[in-house]
């Protein structure tokens, strides 16, 4: 490939004790597009995303962000080695992360959450940071909620603030770990809409989700994990269209049962 992938995962293995959660994953996440990670519970998709965020350390393998190794690299002899923290911080700063549980800091307002790292990490002044944070909140439609604390916001609003917080740091890549899984169905839509408009701006996104409809309509690449292995990858039409892998048939059945047939 002539263009460097946004994320390149090579031979990533993750074991917790004697349990292998990821058994050798190779994956390229293309730039400027949405890639969705699908798979049943326990397939390792969240673990893979957390390894890419370096919230978990992969037991083996190399993860490159924008062509630069994250956390672990290869020494001249090709032996895997831990990279210095400064390099980890630098490479990680290209990534923004959105969590299933939102993880907003409860003692700060929506604006405070978004402005925090602009002040403490980027060293902006309070005023400038607030202006930038406000602009991000406006983008997710929550400027009027700026002075509210997380406990005063709905789940959907909290997740939109969390997206604004990640975007404020101008990441090149956004990771989403089941961003709508802890939301009521009515609130899921508002978060997916924000993600859709983010995708339209050309942001590189890697999304772990159970929202098949979102994946089918927004993603340019679907990656299906099962039992810690990459089972199928390709454009939605290839992955979901017929003939399809029997394992995916089985997986989709559980959704079609719930009346999601029209989405595909």
């Amino acid at each position: 490939m002539s263009i460097v992938s946004a994320i390149r995962v090579s031979g990533v293995v993750k074991r917790f004790g004697s349990t292998a959660v990821l058994t050798g994953i190779d994956l390229d996440v293309p730039r400027g597009a949405v890639t969705c990670l699908l798979g049943p519970s326990g397939s390792g998709k969240s673990t893979l995303l957390r390894c890419i965020a370096f919230l978990e350390e992969a037991t083996d393998g190399i993860i490159e962000i924008d062509g630069e190794p994250l956390g672990f690299g290869l020494d001249p002899d090709g032996v895997r080695m831990r990279l210095p923290d400064a390099s980890l911080r630098k490479v990680r700063s290209k990534i923004g992360m959105v969590f299933q549980q939102f993880n907003l800091w409860p003692h700060m307002t929506a604006l405070g959450n978004v402005a925090e790292a602009l002040v403490t990490v980027r060293g902006l002044g309070r005023v400038e940071a607030s202006e930038k944070a406000m602009a991000q909140l406006e983008k997710v439609g929550l400027a009027q909620r700026a002075t509210h604390y997380p406990s005063e916001l709905s789940g959907g609003q909290q997740q939109r603030v969390a997206i604004a917080r990640a975007l404020a740091l101008e990441p090149k890549i956004m990771l989403f770990d089941e961003p709508t899984s802890s939301l009521d169905p009515e609130l899921t839509g508002e978060v997916l809409n924000v993600m859709r408009s983010l995708a339209e701006t050309g942001m590189t996104m890697l999304v772990v989700t159970h929202e098949i409809g979102f994946a089918a309509s927004v993603a340019s690449k679907i990656v299906f994990l099962d039992h810690g292995k990459l089972l199928v990858e390709g454009a939605p039409a290839e992955v979901f269209g017929k003939p399809r892998h029997p394992r995916i048939d089985q997986f989709l059945d559980t959704y079609l049962d719930r009346g999601a047939a029209g989405l595909l």
């Binding site: 965020a53 919230l55 911080r89 990680r92 700063s93 990534i95 923004g96 992360m97 969590f99 549980q101 993880n103 907003l104 800091w105 409860p106 003692h107 700060m108 307002t109 925090e116 790292a117 403490t120 990490v121 604390y149 997380p150 406990s151 005063e152 969390a162 917080r165 990640a166 740091l169």
Partner: protein, 213 residues
Amino acid sequence: MSWELFWLLVEASGLTILYSAVSIVVGFFVSAAVCAGVLSSNRPISAAARLFVSFFRGTPLLIQLLLIYYLLPQIGLNVPSAVAAVLGLSLCTAAYQAEILRGGFQSVPRGLIEAADMCGLSAFATFRRIRLPIAVRLTLPALTSEAIMILKSSSLISVVGVVELTTMAKDLASSTYQPLPIFAAAGFVYLVINLVVAGFGQLAERAARRGHA
């Protein structure tokens, strides 16, 4: 009991409040550092912090004050009464506050720290801006109780020569032969001070609740 006597008690309570307040605040900053030490993955630091907690929690405040006042001059450090009093009170409360905070720190959801990691906050910034404020909010009731305990324990600083509320009451009781009204009045003054502290504690809890689901 005359108003003059009561006024002397109120004046002495000023020292009780002053010494306690300074010690609680100094003790809080020491406790945050001690707590960070206890929770540190660095073994010598963690061991030293735990030793600190064991000593200052496991020995009587009275002994600590006497040790500071009489032992330090032996090694050439002359400490005035006021310094010995603040030092003793703040180190003692630091040990208790550190243990209270430790419970708070361990209840901070991991996801909040992961979010700080992903936003690029350094370990120190995460401690100062995320973990400590949340730990304090989670432990406000216990911290308020500790402040009240220190206000009452501060009567012990009389052993290093500070004439605070209890000592003043004792002196007045023996010079006026009216122990009952004087000690009752002293108890009343303590009660009023501690009600105010408890009130502030509740206000702080209410303010924190807004920022806490």
